[in-house]
């Protein structure tokens, strides 16, 4: 129980900010002197056309890309100087799900749970919520793209961390699925979480939304 309380306190003070971000990929400058500050309970929406650098910005925030200049801060400490702590506090829902087609959802999620020390141990409710409970023993490759996406969402919920980075979370999902993602995000924000979401379309969500146009 103590651990649970500790994570909640962390969530309340959580803060993601960035200053003076510049990223050059090959010959192109994707963004320059970009800055944002995000507090607990807020959503940062990254908007822009295809190829405008949304994914690159998300990857840069996650620490996967090195920036030309500028730093991302988590709780006012540079991310790169506390990589492990920061990664323990975030989860990354990428376009490529990072799940193995040869394994079942249950096997995939079991592996992911071992990588993240804070994972929730009770995941039956998560399966129910996402509507994948009866699929959990099938090989992932036999599932539809939308169902695979739901498994990736299950991993995100399971991780139980304050910061969600989501890259086009609506891809391949039906209208129920889209609604579910919105609901889950609203709940996460209401409980003091933070969310950075990249989408090419408008997102209708009931929360404090900050925007970055790329």
């Amino acid at each position: 129980m103590r651990r649970r309380l500790a994570t909640e306190r962390k969530v309340l003070t959580a803060k993601l900010s960035a200053k003076d971000l510049t990223l050059i990929r090959g010959e192109r400058c994707l963004f320059q002197q970009l800055e944002f500050a995000l507090d607990a309970g807020e959503l940062l929406l990254l908007q822009g056309r295809n190829g405008s650098g949304k994914t690159s910005l998300l990857r840069a925030i996650a620490g996967l890309l090195s920036l030309e200049s500028g730093e991302v801060h988590w709780n006012d400490v540079p991310v790169l100087s506390q990589r492990q702590e920061f990664h323990g506090a975030m989860v990354w829902l990428a376009h490529r799900t990072g799940l193995k087609g040869d394994l079942t959802p249950a096997e995939n999620l079991h592996f992911e749970a071992t990588l993240r020390p804070q994972s929730k141990t009770e995941i039956a409710a998560i399966y129910e919520r996402l509507g994948i409970a009866r699929l959990k023993r099938l090989p992932l490759r036999s599932l539809s793209a939308g169902q695979q996406r739901r498994v990736a969402l299950a991993r995100m919920l399971m991780a139980d961390v304050p910061l969600w980075l989501m890259d086009e979370p609506f891809t391949n999902l039906d209208s129920d699925g889209r609604k579910l993602v919105i609901e889950l995000t609203e709940e996460h924000l209401a409980s003091g979480g933070l969310c950075v979401l990249a989408a090419h379309q408008e997102v209708d969500i009931n929360a404090t939304v900050k925007r970055v146009k790329l």
Partner: protein
Amino acid sequence: MGADIPAQPGILAGLVAITRRDLLLAWKRPGDVLNPLFFFAMVCTLFPLAIGPSPAELMFSGPGVLWVAALLASLLSLNSLFLSDHEDGSLDQWLTSPQPLPVLAIGKTLAHWLISGLPLVLISPLLAMTYRMPAGVILVLIFTLFLGTICLSLLGSIGAALTVGLHRGTALLSLLILPLAMPVLLLGANTVSLAAGNEAYATGIWALAAYAIAALSLAPYATAAALRISNE
């Protein structure tokens, strides 16, 4: 299902998890294990066909042939070491997980060695017998291959991490790894030759063991750094 998820994994949990997952994947696709093995056996068959079946020649060239074949066979499976993880986004997940990356790299390499290195060691006595190697020498061969394949997997993981996601990956990987692997080949094959000639061979074993320990302590860091760079 909920019951078998560990509540508080320790530092080695990532290593165990990744090794376990890769073994599970290999179990579901046994071809990945068998291909290098067949390749190893095939190359060892080619040599007697090329140089003739004379027992003296086979005994003389056996250690070298077996070692070169093992080196090439372990190189064969390296290209795919991080490839699928890079393509399906698993690598992104590891790089953004709280687990230390060198530990994950060790887990990955351990799985690779168990899947493609250890089977070579296990099948080598069979092939060595066809080269008329006496039992004592075969023991030395097994031991040097055991240490040698560990070295090759560790070195190979660096090369695989550097070339993951590049076109021309396979040829480039060989170009990067073979010069690095030459000392291993040289130590391994010559130690077996010395044993075959009834000479003192302990130096070679010690040197290989030292190489393996050095590689085990340094290579994971290089692999981790290379993975971060290649996955950008």
